[in-house]
Amino acid sequence: MRQSLPFVLALATLGLAACGQQGSQPAAPGAPAAQPEAGGVVQIDGSSTVYPITEAVAEEFQIQNQGKVKVTVGVSGTGGGFKKFCRGELDIANASRPIQRAEMDACAAAGIKYFELPIAYDALTVVVNPANPVESISVEDLKKMWQPEAQGTITRWNQVNPAFPDAELKLYGAGSDSGTFDYFTEAVVGKAKSSRGDYTASEDDNVLVQGISSDVNAIGYFGFAYYYENRDKLKSLAIQRSADSAPVKPTPETVIDGTYMPLARPMFVYVSEKAWQRPEIKQFMAFYLDNAAALAREVEYVPLPDAAYVTIRGHLDAGKMGTVFKGEPATAITIEDLLAREAAL
């Protein structure tokens, strides 16, 4: 009879499968929508850049809450997050850029209204190898370096600026799917996604860090946290906005006072208006705004001034819905400006 053991096992698996199907059926219809009400789950998804802050908030919130309200955070990218958000599958979307026109239309078509909350700033940092003599670079020179016309023609540092060394130019940058790429091209070249293609591109910033730290002639850009964690192997460049302005290094102060421009970028969370009616979302967002400053600092982002978080809280309570960007990208905007603008759905 020992031979029949495997057969019994196979039967048991069959039985389990059958039970599984049976048990899941009642829960199946409309399950994604039904879950939050049942278990008190806050569903968040979106940008990988905003993820570290939201993860930190979710972690602390669940500790304080003793797990009564559950929070899940996914990383689908800003675009992927908005896609789900505008289908009504999410309570909150993380975004490293404002919502775009097509996404606004999708949300409007589905009847999804939302609040747009800036929660911190990131300083896009232009970095070189520490052995590189260059200390600062103008936005104009960055444009010469990165615009599509530069492809194949600008291959040496001194072609960009005669003051730069006579050495080969090696470029490292974000992959074309990332919000970082969109923002950098918009701010530097003047048109989102408009960039030369002959550079080392990676969605994984650690790959860029490795490349630049081992190549004297390299230059690249990524979020401040990656520079800060590797500041012993990299050098950040001061950015000169225009011919008559002084070069500015990326620091929390220069980001907040609006002088590190145009590479200081705001990061957002979008809260669905329908979700905002639920007590656990109100609780979570209150916790988010109260702790965003401390937690953003901990994960190497630049917090907004305390007054800004109070204003944002006010916007939520007053029901100020929609986006202040009207589908346009956000470049070179200070937090005061951003919060003072009129919002529209």
Binding site: R2, Q3, S4, P6, F7, A10, T13, L14, L16, A17, C19, G20, Q22, G23, S24, A27, A28, P29, G30, A31, P32, Q35, V41, Q43, D45, S48, Y51, P52, T54, E55, A56, A58, E59, Q62, G67, K70, V71, T72, V73, G74, V75, S76, K84, E203, D204, D205, N206, G223, A225, Y226, Y228, E229, N230, L295, E298, V299, E300
Partner: protein, 311 residues
């Protein structure tokens, strides 16, 4: 044939034999070289992973949820998620795959339709996993409304490994000698009795090996489960399958959101802090050990079941 013997040049024959032996040796050396490249690569990667990650392995690492502080971060949600998804994957792929394999080998008539199905199953084994993810996103997540749940992931990975299970089931069944079938029929057994009492038990070692190879592939898959929307941060576990109140079993865990080992590893490798890279190495080490343990189980089962075969 005296002429042939007279023409036989002993020295030339010896030279030919020596040359052939040299070629034999050369091929053996080539084969050994190729094997060493594979083995050395695996050892180098494994040792590197152990050096980077072993310092982080502790009981806390297994019992903590993910955290922004690398030294407190653990893989509890990830390993539990991977485990429950594997259970569902096996529950989907094994019955369907084995039954399909048996049908195709023992029941299906040999015609053009069967040939077409066979070709398609073989082709399915080569379809990139992301395609299964996209299929599942459209079908399970949106059309059936199952959401980004354990059930969706299990069904998706189950589909992914189905061709592997079917093909290995057929191989194993084909290895059962035809005379065994004839003997069963001669004693008046029906086709089902023949399959149930003879073919299935004798082919079980091969089938199990195929199932475990399939599961070993599924456990490392990232693309399809990311596509269906598995989350990255989750600080709670699926509800327990056994409850204190009647009916004592609950299938709520099937609808629970989840994360899995490969997602956790990927997330940690993309973080700026170097301490997270160590966490990633440690988690990868755990995943490799999980896979090796599954393979060891397959070998042990095969050994045990073969021992019981008495032909």
């Amino acid at each position: 044939m005296p002429g042939a013997a007279a023409n036989f040049d002993l020295a030339a024959a010896r030279a030919t034999i020596a040359a052939q032996k040299k070629r034999d040796l050369a091929f053996a050396a080539l084969g050994l070289g190729a094997l060493s490249v594979c083995f050395a690569t695996f050892v180098a990667l494994f040792v590197d992973m152990v050096i980077d990650g072993s310092g982080r392995l502790s009981s806390d690492f297994f019992s903590n949820f993910a955290s922004r502080r690398p030294e407190q971060a653990g893989i509890l949600a990830a390993w539990v998620g991977t485990l429950v998804v594997m259970v569902v994957t096996a529950a989907v792929a094994v019955p369907v795959g084995v039954a399909s394999g048996i049908y195709l080998e023992e029941y299906a008539p040999r015609n053009k339709l069967t040939a077409l199905i066979e070709i398609n199953i073989n082709n399915l084994a080569g379809v990139p996993s992301i395609v299964y993810g996209l299929l599942a996103l459209g079908m399970f997540v949106h059309t059936f409304g199952l959401g980004a749940s354990v059930l969706t992931a299990g069904l998706t990975l189950g589909l992914l490994i189905l061709p592997i299970v079917i093909v290995s089931t057929r191989e194993a069944i084909r290895a059962v000698p035809g005379m065994i079938r004839e003997a069963a029929y001669a004693l008046g057994a029906t086709r089902w009795q023949m399959v149930r009492h003879h073919v299935l038990p004798y082919s079980m070692p091969g089938i199990l090996t195929g199932v475990i190879i399939g599961l070993s592939r599924a456990i490392g898959e990232t693309a399809p489960i990311v596509t269906i929307g598995a989350v990255t941060f989750i600080a709670f576990l699926p509800p327990a399958p056994v409850t204190a109140a009647a009916p004592f079993v609950s299938f709520e865990w099937l609808m629970s959101p989840f994360t899995a080992m490969p997602i956790q590893i990927f997330n940690w490798t993309s973080r700026p802090e170097t301490a997270f890279q160590q966490n990633a190495s440690a988690a990868a080490l755990v995943l490799v050990v999980m896979t090796l343990a599954m393979n060891a189980l397959a070998i042990w089962l095969r050994f045990r079941l073969r021992r019981n075969l008495k032909w």
